[in-house]
Symmetry: C2
Subunit: 364 residues, 2 copies
């Protein structure tokens, strides 16, 4: 079956491209001598997490306990939950999962450290934890150097958690305008973490992992001596944002949404998928448009309603008619994956079948 025979909107994943993306990132990590622990929030699909593990990854990263539960139910047992977990209900689930999987968590406050330690100690567990360091993104994370060292000194005294290293996510790379700026962010991120790790070691604290994130910065941070682990996510599919951050080319983009033209005017078209399908995510850089229409460089998605993409004609060239199907490369692959319950896998134009996005919508 040809992919254009599918009804729309349909989320498509090109398995040839995804396979190639997975292999290349693994090669890069292997040659830099760092472990790759992919962030699986991008695909939210155990089937693809297994591809990454078979390619050489030692474990995975997730954002939510609910994602960890889905991945573990699919047979994956080395999981980092990279979010400061809070509250009695989550402590209960965390410890239940810790009986079945090798878990790691990240945290950056004594409140979270204490809660996890208390819950774990009651069951005789010691949960390995990273301390999250803020590399300048100002989201979560402690300031590097002394504040991190002082925190680790305190946290290592708790009986139910075991310090294994430092973790950071240099999301500020998405504000970079040039490849050189991305490289600088990646190298600074790595250097800052290594410097902070050395400060801890000088204090007698063992630091096994220095773990850095983000797809655009991964290849630069991985080169910094002392970094042990990278956690990119989006590289499995890439997207419009990643092309603009120099992480890939258009031909590497494995995720597209198949849409139908439902209205046509000389200066604009309407497609049958909007923010419910492509997501209204403009990315941290605040993109002006909402995805890229494949094969039509003179079409620009300038606005989204919930069920409509508003497309402007910006130049000369053939226009698709009402009823014609087009593919759109979204701005942000992870956000799109969360909106769909399944994707259709293709190789070339040929449909392979539908796959459940089993960890989508896990909010808790």
């Amino acid at each position: 079956m040809h992919k254009f025979e599918l009804d729309t909107p349909t989320l498509l994943i090109d398995f040839d491209k995804a396979e190639r993306n997975i292999a290349r990132m693994q090669e890069m990590a292997d040659s830099a001598g760092v472990k790759l622990r992919p962030h699986t929030k991008t695909h939210k699909t155990p089937y693809l997490a297994h591809w990454q593990l078979r390619a050489g990854s030692r474990g995975i990263t997730v954002a939510k306990l609910g994602e960890a539960e889905v991945m573990n139910a699919a047979g994956i047992d080395d999981i980092l939950i990279a979010f400061p977990l809070q509250g009695a209900a989550k402590m209960e689930r965390l410890l239940h999962l810790a009986e079945r999987a090798r878990l790691r968590v990240s945290l950056d406050s004594m409140k979270v450290a204490q809660d996890i330690s208390d819950a774990a100690a009651r069951r005789g567990f010691k949960i390995p934890f990273y301390v999250e360091v803020d590399p300048g993104l100002h989201r979560v994370g402690l300031p590097p150097r002394e504040p991190t060292r002082d925190f680790v000194r305190q946290a290592t005294k708790l009986p139910g958690i075991e310090f294994i290293g430092l973790l950071t996510h240099a999301g500020q790379a998405y504000a970079a305008k040039t490849l050189e700026e991305v490289a600088v962010v990646g190298k600074q991120e790595g250097a800052l973490m290594v410097e902070t790790a050395e400060m801890l070691r000088a204090d007698g604290i063992a630091v096994r992992e220095v773990s850095v994130g983000s797809t655009p910065t991964a290849r630069f941070a991985a080169q910094v001596q002392g970094v042990t682990e990278i956690r990119p996510g989006t590289y499995v599919f890439y997207d419009t944002m990643q092309v603009h951050k120099f992480a890939c080319g258009w031909d590497d983009c494995a995720q597209t949404v198949l849409l139908t033209v439902v209205a046509k005017h000389p200066d604009r078209l309407i497609l049958d998928g909007g923010s419910k399908t492509l997501s209204s995510d403009r990315g941290p850089g605040g993109a002006a448009t909402f995805g890229t229409v494949v094969g039509f460089a003179h079409l620009e998605i300038y606005a989204l309603s919930e069920e409509h993409a508003h497309v402007r004609v910006t130049g000369n060239g053939p226009l698709p008619d009402i009823g014609a199907k087009v593919q759109v490369i979204p701005n942000h692959a992870c956000a799109v994956m969360n909106l769909h319950e399944r994707f259709v896998a293709t190789r070339g134009d040929e449909v392979l079948g539908a796959f459940e996005i089993a960890a989508r919508g896990k909010l808790q």
Copy 2:
């Protein structure tokens, strides 16, 4: 159980407020002498559609065939699908549904008119249709007056569809800055539709329905003599955007998301829900923030990651601690509903139970 005992993120719907919102809009429609056909894309929940029907609505509006199927399976049989349906797969489903429900569709091109007519005529059906008119939003819809009349002349010749009236959605009201501007948009929308309907009638074409949309403009368009039907959706919950468009007050907002503080700094906080939970929808007006923290006027959600709300402290006052729970009124209620598989209903602070959002995620 108190709502603050729930784990986070959790979507909350205050049933007292939703009930009151439904009753008030129905009273307004009744006193203006127009039918209310609520757009159920806001709640996507058959249980709440039944509330609207019991309050006096004669039928409902949906955006997608998949939503119509869910609503019909829940016993609702008067359904307008307000989207130009395209393609063989959808024609098959449309006709299958037409055997069980009283359907109406909207369309604005001969391609769609012809396809639906062909499919319906083959089965001996005549599908009632509205012609969508563009009131200045420039999304779908034909220009009013002559272009609409010329189109209706052609479309009424088709054997499988039956013209019932004109339909419009004045989404441009969301760009209005004052209540007066909203009122002008609503009155102009109504007047333009009535004028076009009169032009059709002068041409010998019966026009049973003049149907107008949007929550902010509903009360103004309903007053225009000749309008027969209004199709607001968001009024059932309201949201930050509706407060800013003068459609309601903060105390009318029935939808909130319960979140936990996971990081705290003197100048900013991080909450445990981001674009996956609150949606990155800024609304057509392009809001600067991503929702409203209830009870903390000096907190501003200035950015969202997928799993984090970034909150700025903009003034003096008490700050919630790590582990504390807060409620956020989202920017756009409909977009948020699509992100959650269920909501928890409350009356006051008391939890009633969880309800499935059965028509969420229906993309086709």
